[in-house]
Amino acid sequence: MSNVFMGMPSLPVFGDGNLHIDEPFPAAAHRELGNTQMRANLRHATHTIRDKRLKVVGELPDWEELRDAGAATKNLVMANLPALLEEFEKNFTARGGIIHWARDADEANRIVSDLIKEQDTDEVVKVKSMATQEIGLNEYLEEQGISAFETDLAELIVQLGHDKPSHILVPAIHKNRSEVRDIFLAEMPNVDPNLTDEPRLLAMAAREHLRRKFLSAKVAVSGANFALADSGTLAVVESEGNGRMCLTLPETLITVMGIEKLLPGKEDLEVFMQLLPRSSTGERMNPYTSLWTGVTEGDGPQNVHLVMLDNGRTAALADKYGRTALNCIRCSACMNVCPVYERTGGHAYGSTYPGPIGAILTPLLTGIKSEENSSLPYASSLCGACFDACPVKINIPEILVHLRGEDVDSKRGEKKLPSQMDLMMKGAQWAFSSGKHLGLLEKGLPLGKLAAGRDKKIKRLPGIAAGWTRSRDIPAPPTQSFRDWWKKDHRPAAATTEQEK
């Protein structure tokens, strides 16, 4: 199959799974903001990681050059995706791996579940994976009578606490150490009742809890951070060693990976393995990275499967203004610097992907019309901190604005009469299309001053503009416009007249 499009264009097919939010972001954010403990925890954690990231990024004189290479590599991958996927499949298969393709969440879940059942087991150990979170694999396996044990410490905290992840790297970021201790004491069998909240001891309790599982598991399920097309190699980046345990000890390994995770080849790892650890945990390198290429005789799993997942990725790819969201390497730097995320936390976003990247990726995967997902692109002040922090330079603010436009356009079709927003925008279009129009409008400024009254504040605007004045006042407008003032106060000097020409 070539990259040149020959057939009829098909409509985008959107994704499913833990991506559809059932409550608009403002309502969810309002509720979450009431949780002061969570806000304190998040503030502490995000500020810790910001400082660490800045320190290790500052050590590299070529950080910007690495970002440029990372962004260009991902753009190249997306433009050549069919050829790279074919190349990867050929190499992975030649080395004994087996590839499965899944159009959506449900198909991926069924494939994984069937593969597990083939091994005559009802237990699997899991390495933290966003893709399996997205498709709701654990819930599906539970329905099938299969227990999935999360082995990443933060995932374990979430699973034991019957909670939901609130961050893509540290899913339990909303819990502090004493809350973690309480969860362990309540939910972890055979835990030492004298367990304190010292993080080192909490980590050791998790080690004790999971060790037997690791040593006896027959099947492991993982995600993947990167896949190298020219060799068929997969990579998992982790810290604790739970990844190594899952990728090394069981006989069967099932990896679920989005189709956008490809890199052309080994050379690209030199860029991404500098960008990712420094952006995510603020370390020069994460403690452990595992790379495997199909099956290696006598070393590690001998049944190696890979599920290649679409689930809306092709729909995101079809949006030429939004497709760079697929360049995301799931580092979480954008949420760690986001003033909105820091205050609302990840649960307010309602999707597997929270924070700035989630606010664009979620509606791109599901389509802007899906349930309440259209509220996500507004979950931002457009300050741009996420764009600055992104190691692959995804212009998140620009895509947020693009998706807001999609939202407005999609709703316009539903109503016969123009909305207040439409009328205001029409008015603005007229006003800003010519200096004369604007000058005419500015003559009305004294009226605004009149409306403001004696305390020189406008406290209530009509219609949809009331949303603005509900939580703030507008100062009274001046009696004359800037341009009128300029005309009166500055007799044009020769130089400025020259410039104006």
Partner: protein, 212 residues
């Protein structure tokens, strides 16, 4: 249509505007001329920052250093391709503590779990990030042996140290099972503060050998 055909057709349809991305600019550092003494110093600094214990020794001292690092272990595993001269001091006259993992004579998981330590060599190390790469060749062994025991003693020949990741990748055979190790097992999952010691070896001793 199979799932694969359908997904590939969706991609092709999604790319019908035929985006033409710019070539990848590789303006970042790919070479370095840092002298060996400074490379060693940088690697030591990074590894100690990760709470690994580091010795820098001449090749003549290697065997004694290994013996010292393993002195508290009641048992340890070595891969079958380990340089026997390294073990001269650690296992005089066939030390009963030693277990050898070899193709056709592999140690089971319970055996590895009851083994205190592991001794391996390494393939290449990156000074700037404090990363040691194991590639499963006979002096490093299969992945399980350097994972299950709680204490890893890792030999880094000075000739295998480079400064930058782009200098290290050409030295790796990417299709071998690779493990990149940067310090002992750790987590940042509680309040994003790093603590050492979870599932992987909690103790990492690195021996950098000059002249090797």
């Amino acid at each position: 249509m199979s799932a694969k055909e359908e997904i590939l057709s969706r991609i092709t349809s999604a790319l019908r505007d035929a985006p033409t991305p710019e070539p990848i600019p590789r303006e970042y550092r790919t070479t370095s001329d840092m002298p060996l003494a400074e490379l060693i110093e940088l690697l030591v600094d990074r590894l100690e920052d990760y709470k690994a214990h580091v010795d820098v020794v001449d090749s003549a001292q290697l065997s004694a250093t290994i013996a010292d690092r393993l002195k508290d272990a009641t048992s340890f595993v070595v891969p079958h391709g380990i340089d026997e001269t390294w073990l001269a001091d650690a296992t005089p006259d066939g030390d009963a503590r030693r277990r050898t993992d070899a193709p056709g004579a592999v140690l089971g998981i319970p055996e590895l779990d009851s083994t205190d330590a592991v001794l391996t060599s390494s393939a290449v190390s990156i000074a700037e990030s404090g990363t040691i790469v194991l590639d499963g060749t006979p002096d490093q062994g299969r992945r399980a042996i350097s994972l299950v025991p709680d204490h890893h003693v890792c030999v880094v020949p000075a000739s295998t140290i480079v400064r930058l990741l782009p200098e290290a990748l050409p030295r790796m055979d990417i299709t071998r099972p690779l493990t990149w190790i940067s310090g002992p097992s750790a987590t940042s999952d509680i309040e994003l503060e790093r603590v050492e010691g979870v599932h992987g070896p909690r103790r990492l001793d690195v021996i950098i050998v000059k002249g090797l």
